[in-house]
């Protein structure tokens, strides 16, 4: 990048966020908003970001932002879109923003309905793999072996993580993709792509959480990148529910490298568990690459 050139996409957040130091959800919002541009309305549901934006009477957002009840990001976005369309403002972008709790769990039915109706909105899920805002309780995005305050099972006895992008792809939406704050250029690229098309667009951003994963803040980018390289969160997109494209394939690492970075969080996994997970990850990668080749 040329440092002499001015920033081409101006920031659409003010500093002074209430996020923890090293918050990847904040970084995700920063880049998504910057790329979406000022002609955007943001519907924000309960979760870390409801707090990060700041308490009344302050806000960090430079775009219109509507706070809503839990699980309503998709239904709010639907309402905003309907009003904009009837008011002849169909050029305005609608951005629904929810965490893994809001998206995988309590807001799942609203999400599925909006995808089914092919609502012309971009839904972004920032995934820190637990209900972080309320103190690290498990969610449908918590991977087996991760420590939370509410999982009773240990290790691989825990339920598997939902594959939200596959769920969205099975709705046949125009665009469903993974992204990671470890690879911001890829995220920005995907938002740019999504901005140009209509219909229901979904991006699942992996946002490791220093507070909830018991990591020093300055390690989170590395951990995010390891998750991608370990192929636990591969970077790919699905067009129209059928065409698979692998966006980035950085040099792979074994899952144990990823787990080794998070000993406090992944304490529930034994070495044998890691082997089992590795073969499952390898199998899923084969499936993904086969789909990408077939397209």
């Amino acid at each position: 990048m040329d440092p002499a050139a001015p920033a081409t996409d101006a920031e659409l957040l003010n500093p002074g966020l209430n996020s923890c130091p090293g918050c990847m959800a904040a970084l995700a919002m920063r880049h998504v908003l910057r790329t979406m541009g000022p002609n955007t309305i943001l519907t924000l549901t309960t979760g870390c970001w409801a707090v990060i934006d700041g308490s009344f009477p302050y806000t960090s957002s430079k775009v219109p932002l509507l706070h809503g009840a839990f699980g309503t990001a998709a239904s709010m976005a639907t309402g905003v879109r309907a009003a904009l369309d009837i008011l002849h403002k169909d050029d305005v972008q609608v951005l629904a923003w929810g965490g893994d709790g809001a998206t995988f769990d309590i807001g799942m039915s609203a999400l599925s309905a909006a995808a089914f109706r092919n609502e012309n909105v971009l839904y972004v899920c920032y995934d820190n793999e637990a209900y972080m805002n309320t103190g690290v309780q498990r969610s449908g995005a918590t991977p087996p072996g991760a420590r939370t305050t509410t999982n009773i099972e240990v290790g691989l006895a825990s339920p598997r993580k939902k594959n939200i992008v596959e769920i969205m792809a099975s709705h046949g939406v125009p665009f469903a993709a993974t992204a990671s704050t470890g690879y911001p250029d890829d995220l920005i690229d995907k938002v740019r792509y999504a901005k140009e098309i209509k219909g229901f667009r979904f991006i699942h951003i992996h946002t490791p959480c220093p507070t909830g994963w018991w990591l020093p803040p300055d390690r989170v980018v590395h951990v995010a990148r390891l998750a991608v390289r370990a192929r636990l969160h591969p970077l790919y997109r699905v067009i129209d529910g059928a065409r698979y494209v692998i966006d980035l394939d950085p040099p792979p690492v074994p899952v144990s490298d990823y787990f080794d970075e998070q000993r406090r969080r992944m304490h529930g996994l034994s070495i044998e568990d890691a082997v089992t997970i590795q073969s499952e990850v390898d199998r899923r990668w084969q499936v993904l690459t086969a789909r990408a080749r077939a397209c």
Binding site: L17, N18, G54, F56
Partner: protein, 585 residues
């Protein structure tokens, strides 16, 4: 830019429903911080290891932008003999280059060579208030360097050279296949343009004395080198049957020896021995190097040894000559005895232990001794001489007022680069003294990574009263972040004559890269310790605290929470942290 706090005191202050009235700029999250990140250029290892104080990373970065004028200007300011070092230096920069730990080091010397070939004018050095008169003895790398800097500062310099031509070992000791004479001539001419008076064919101790120079000049710089070849101590040596290596090379250079037949023995394992052997080869003889320790202990650079062998020089290790075989005045051979390595001696190197009963007689037509050169204390008997050379202090001063020295005459590493570096240091410190500044303070200001090299750029800064622009801690590899390096690109292959061709002439063996090839090699540079505007800090800051403006980054400390992600993701290690001192007011 912070905002005011909003306080709703009365019902009439409220909006009609919960609409935000201000921004989070009122929330100064900078107060949360325990660690403060800050941009701090650190020393790159290449810079830190260069004995000359050459701005390796500087000219490499400029070259990678294709800005050869800037590369050349930066280089020439710090290294007046850049075209020479670009050919003969043994590249401690490349040995230290951190990219070596990732794939292969940058070919810094090859980039230096392209930069050195550019014609540029170095911006004028700050002129001395009062020009002084300086005598320089010796026109080798040390003498030329000292003379150049002094003249560039505006002093009146007279350079005394014992031989007819300038250059010292550069001309007489290093063969043209390593350093073409036309290159040397160009370099010398460029230096002389600074305004140096020459007195050649004038030998210290014979034609002029130190005392005379002290009387006529305000300072004297001694760099006569060390050219007394050490004896290999075999019977019959002093009859002239054994040719000292430097003398051999000089005679070849002057045209006194044009061809050689038969087998030549070169006793020794250093650069001179290698040069003598490869020269003998080029004159038509077979060359055999005899070295008393093993290959590992050979002082010559391993690249030179490899190259010599590739060209056909035979290297025999753990052998020492015992006796000359002669017929009349003609040498017919050497009796050699084999050694084994013993315990380390006082210099730390293993002592060669002769193995009795292993003598053999090897036929030779010429025996060359190249086991080292000693200084000649007779040139200035009034000074203090140690066993390894003239005794000088950290600045380069002898015991006598305003008599300074550097180069092979002094006890220091015997390389061209070191000679240039020490001479440069002496020149800057003497100049500083003459400006009324304290050289000890100045030395600590201009040292590169703790010395011995010094930086002309830092000297300019000091003279201009500017604060020091960089820290001198050297970036360690683990302070870089290899995660963000570009995928591995192979190191450029240098153009070289095949050994089979090279050995038949004195043509330069290693060629110069094209500017494009050098620029793309330079682009492999990781920019250790130096921000190169990659934007990683800016892109990864979750709190919008990093802004960029005309190639510089700024941190907004009103909001920076000290997560130090910027430090972690900086591929160059150009951001440091310090503790935020909260409780000490």
């Amino acid at each position: 830019m912070a905002e005011q706090q909003i306080v709703l005191r009365r019902l009439s202050d409220y909006p009609y429903k919960s609409i935000a009235l201000g921004t989070t700029r009122a929330n100064l999250t900078g107060r949360w911080r325990y660690w403060r990140p800050y941009y701090q250029t650190r020393r790159a290892p290449c810079d830190a290891h260069c004995p000359v104080g050459s701005p390796a990373i500087g000219f490499v970065q400029a070259a990678s932008d294709g800005n050869w004028e800037r590369a050349a200007t930066m280089l020439r300011e710090e290294n007046p003999l850049a075209a020479v070092t670009a050919r003969v230096c043994y590249r401690p920069c490349e040995a230290a280059c951190h990219r070596r730990q990732y794939d292969a080091p940058i070919a810094i010397q090859a980039v230096e060579r392209v930069a050195a070939d550019q014609t540029v004018e170095v911006p004028a050095f700050p002129a001395a208030d009062r020009p002084r008169s300086v005598a320089v003895v010796g026109s080798g790398p040390a003498g030329l360097t000292f003379a150049y800097y002094m003249a560039a500062f505006g002093h009146r310099v007279s350079l005394f050279e014992a031989r007819r031509d300038l250059g010292g070992l550069l001309r007489y000791g290093i063969p043209p296949y390593r350093l073409p004479k036309v290159v040397l001539d160009r370099e010398v001419e460029r230096l002389l343009a600074a305004g140096i008076q020459i007195r050649s064919d004038c030998r210290l101790g014979r034609d002029v004395s130190l005392e005379e120079l002290e009387a006529q000049y305000e300072a004297v710089f001694l760099a006569p080198g060390a050219s007394r070849s050490l004896a290999i101590r075999v019977p019959g040596e002093d009859t002239g049957a054994v040719t000292p290596g430097l003398e051999f090379l000089r005679r070849v250079h002057e045209g006194g020896i044009r061809g050689l037949k038969g087998r030549v023995a070169v006793v020794g394992g250093g650069n001179t021995a290698i040069d003598a052997a490869r020269t003998a080869l080029r004159l038509g003889a077979d060359a055999v190097i005899l070295y008393r320790r093993s290959r590992n202990e050979m002082p010559a650079h391993v690249d030179e040894i490899d190259r010599a062998e590739a060209e056909g020089v035979q290297v025999e290790t753990l052998v020492a000559p015992v006796e000359l075989q002669r017929r009349g005045r003609t040498v017919t051979g050497l009796v050699i005895r084999r050694n084994e390595l013993g315990a380390p001696g006082p210099d730390g190197r293993p002592v060669p232990v002769p193995l009795p009963g292993t003598e053999e007689t090897w036929p030779f037509d010429l025996v060359i001794s190249a086991i080292g050169e000693a200084v000649d204390a007779d040139v200035a008997p009034g000074l203090t001489w140690g066993s390894a050379g003239l005794v000088v202090d950290e600045w380069g001063r002898t015991g006598r007022a305003e008599v300074w020295a550097a180069g092979d005459v002094v006890d220091m590493p015997r390389t061209v680069a070191d000679a240039i570096g020490r001479a440069k240091r002496a020149a800057l410190l003497l100049d500083a003294r003459w400006r009324g500044l304290d050289p000890a303070v100045m030395l600590s200001r201009i040292q590169v990574a703790g010395g011995p090299a010094v930086s002309m750029a830092k000297y300019r800064e000091a003279l201009a009263g500017q604060p020091s622009s960089r820290a001198e801690d050297v970036v360690a590899y683990d302070q870089l972040n290899a995660e963000f390096f570009e995928p591995a690109a192979p190191r450029v292959a240098l153009p070289q004559l095949p050994p089979g061709d090279g050995r038949h002439s004195f043509r330069e063996v290693v060629g110069t890269l094209s500017a494009e090839a050098a620029a793309s090699e330079a682009a492999r540079c990781l920019s250790c310790g130096h921000c190169n505007g990659c934007d990683n800090c800016w892109i990864y800051c979750p709190d919008l605290c990093v802004s960029r403006e005309s190639g510089h980054y700024h941190i907004d400390y009103d909001y920076c929470k000290g997560c130090t992600l910027c430090v972690a993701v900086c591929p160059r290690g150009a951001i440091s942290t310090t503790e935020e001192r909260k409780w000490r007011g």
